[in-house]
Symmetry: C2
Subunit: 222 residues, 2 copies
């Protein structure tokens, strides 16, 4: 598609990522823009979940999306079809985004006229969790086929997230996935974690998730 | 469980990972031990696939398994129940294994009396693909719920692997997964890639995969 801008972002030059992340949040606070960082494994349904989220909120909020991928621009093309501002970030092999890389994306996206900027991070449960991107809130998506033991194996990402979306609940009957256990394990890592079981395919559970997100955006931007 | 040895492996001290990996292969060749490196996203069914693989080959081959995880030892416990030698490697947050880390694991596992050593790498489609572990062959598992577009988004891992297992074909009816497309995309990245559609749950397709693996082991160890 001709309307997809592809940005090659470079590894950050900043020695202190946490300071840089704080600087981004201060800038976003002034601009009244909320940045949401979305993390998950490859194939958990990040883009589908974003489509539902955009659909639910685009009447109320001005939304922009940064799709980070090592290669390809299929996700940005899908998002662009919703009519919201969308750019593709290519990480050049990097397995995560740090604050400096996120800022390059924000500058290209243009945030002054946005209420909600969304960063779809690289599909990876490990490295993205280690870097503060400057986001106001972090959300992770875990999908039913991945199994309920993931909080035991990938502790950090559950610790740094504010919300956990459990996607693909429409296929629960076909998998040995214990919803009570995953909630127990996730809260063991992070007692404050908000948990939203959804199906991005059928739309089930989307309202609870987008209501929560809208509240976060309104609180930050007021 | 008391019989699981947990090894804390440290980041490698070797500057030249490729040389170190070659040195490991030379050692394994002398010992007539085949090392298989198994990579995938979190939750694609690595451990279940290994259980089926062990079950099919344990009469013919002496097998040992290294389960690499950032945390937890649930996988090593599961593998130990099959009766094969199994150790848990904890990477201390590291998102991949390099050759030096793999060698620490091999030394703890003890390879002299093994025909087949299996490394279950950290669940991650990005970083493990960048490091030669010293394995004789690399295999990756992609599961149906992850989607058929993954070779477009995570090119390197498809390039460095010798075989691609497409797992969870028992749930094909419930997902928009195009088997022809995934094969086309994967062969675009790597025309020599051997592809095995399987269901680790039902056992479908396991024989073709284990027959291929047995041939690779026999060729290396003869």
């Amino acid at each position: 598609m001709d309307n997809i801008r592809i940005i090659e972002i470079k590894e950050s030059i900043f020695a202190d990522n946490d300071k840089e992340a704080e600087r981004i949040r201060e800038r976003l606070k002034k601009e009244r823009t909320f940045l949401l960082n979305v993390m998950s494994s490859p194939g958990s349904g990040k883009t589908c979940t974003l489509l539902r989220t955009i659909d639910a909120l685009k009447e109320d909020l001005r939304i922009g999306v940064m799709e980070a991928d090592i290669d390809s621009s299929v996700d940005a093309e899908t998002i662009a079809e919703t009519g919201v501002k969308s750019i593709q970030l290519h990480t050049g092999g990097m397995c995560h985004l740090d604050a400096g890389m996120t800022e390059q994306g924000l500058n290209e996206l243009g945030t002054e006229d946005l209420d909600l900027a969304i960063l779809e991070n690289v599909g990876n449960l490990v490295c993205p969790a280690e870097f503060d991107t400057g986001a106001v809130k972090n959300v992770m998506i875990l999908s039913v086929p991945e199994g309920h033991d993931k909080p035991l194996k990938y502790p950090l990402i559950f610790t740094v997230c504010n919300a956990l979306i459990i996607n693909k609940i429409d296929v629960l009957p076909y998998f040995d996935f214990d919803m009570e256990k995953v909630i127990e394990y996730a809260h063991m890592r992070n007692p404050k974690l908000e948990i939203f079981p959804i199906s991005a395919k059928t739309g089930e559970g989307i309202e609870a998730w987008t209501t929560w997100l809208k509240e976060q955006v309104d609180t930050w931007n007021k």
